[in-house]
C-alpha cells in the first residue's frame, strides 16, 4: 500500500511483482504470433494443432494467469473457504487447469508432428557413398568348432 502511494503508477508497473504478469502477457502474445507465422509454413493437422495449442496458451498466459497475479481471481483453496466464493474460485481453477495443460499438450503434439517425431524415425546417419560401390567384405565364417582350440 505504501509503495503504491509513494511511487507514480509507471514505477509500480516496473516493479518486480508487476513485471512477471507483464512478461507472461508479452510471452503469450508473442507465442501466438510466432505460432501463426509457423503455421504458414505447415499445412493440415500440424498447423491446426500448433494454432489451437498456441491460442489456448495465449489465453492462459495472456489473460488467466495475470488475472490470478492481479488478484482479480482468488486462488482455489478448498481448506480455507473463508477466503471468498468457493464455487467461483473452483470454476476458474478448472478453466486454468484445462487451458494451460490442454494448451501445452496440443501445442506439444503439434510441434512434435512438425518435427516428424511421431512418424517413422529418421535414419541416424547417412551411409557414405563409397560403401555402395565397395561393399564391405563379409567376415570369414568361423565355425564354433574351429574357433575352439
Amino acid at each position: 500500500m505504501f509503495y503504491a502511494m509513494s511511487f507514480p503508477p509507471i514505477l509500480v508497473l516496473g516493479s518486480i511483482e508487476a513485471i512477471r504478469p507483464v512478461f507472461l502477457i508479452v510471452m503469450g502474445l508473442f507465442l501466438m504470433i510466432i505460432a501463426w507465422r509457423l503455421c504458414q509454413a505447415t499445412t493440415g493437422w500440424t498447423a491446426r494443432m500448433i494454432a489451437a495449442g498456441a491460442l489456448l496458451l495465449g489465453l492462459g498466459y495472456g489473460l488467466i494467469v495475470p488475472m490470478y497475479h492481479a488478484g482479480i481471481i482468488r486462488p482455489y483453496m478448498p481448506n480455507r473457504p473463508e477466503l471468498g466464493d468457493v464455487s467461483t474460485a473452483m470454476a476458474w481453477h478448472a478453466v486454468k487447469i484445462l487451458t494451460m495443460n490442454g494448451g501445452w499438450l496440443i501445442f506439444g503434439i503439434g510441434v512434435a508432428m512438425h518435427a516428424k517425431l511421431l512418424g517413422k524415425p529418421a535414419p541416424r546417419r547417412v551411409l557414405a557413398p563409397a560403401s555402395r560401390h565397395n561393399p564391405p567384405t563379409p567376415a570369414p565364417h568361423v565355425s564354433p568348432a574351429r574357433s575352439r582350440h
Partner: protein
C-alpha cells in the same frame, strides 16, 4: 456442482500429467529438430522445455513430499529455494521456448525462401 467441473477438479493430477506430457513432447521435438536440421532455435526450445518440465514436475509433486520435517531438514536456504526457484524456472523456461520457437520460425522462413 456440475459433473464436468467435478471431473476436472477431481482429476487435477491427470490433467497436470497431460500438460507435463505435452511439454516433454515439445522438448523431444526440439531435440529432433536440432538433430535433423541444425535449426539453432531447437536448442533454445529444448533448454526451455527442460526447465519448464522441472518446474512443473516440482509443482505437481511438491504437495506429496513437502512436510514440516522436510522443511526443517533443508533449513532456511532450502526453504527460500523452494519458494524462489520454481517461478524462476517457469519464467526462463517459457522464455526459452518462445525464443527457440522464434529462432526456428526464422530459420524455416529462410530455408523456404
Amino acid at each position: 456442482m456440475s459433473l464436468l467441473l467435478e471431473v476436472v477438479i477431481k482429476n487435477g493430477l491427470l490433467f497436470d500429467s497431460l500438460g507435463i506430457l505435452g511439454i516433454g513432447l515439445l522438448g523431444l521435438a526440439a531435440i529432433r529438430l536440432v538433430r535433423r536440421s541444425q535449426s539453432w532455435g531447437g536448442n533454445m526450445m529444448a533448454f526451455g522445455a527442460i526447465l519448464l518440465l522441472f518446474a512443473r514436475l516440482y509443482t505437481v509433486l511438491a504437495p506429496h513430499f513437502i512436510t514440516e520435517d522436510f522443511l526443517a531438514k533443508i533449513g532456511p536456504l532450502g526453504i527460500s529455494l523452494t519458494i524462489g526457484l520454481p517461478p524462476v524456472l517457469l519464467t526462463f523456461g517459457l522464455a526459452g521456448i518462445v525464443w527457440g520457437l522464434w529462432g526456428h520460425e526464422r530459420w524455416l522462413s529462410e530455408e523456404i525462401r
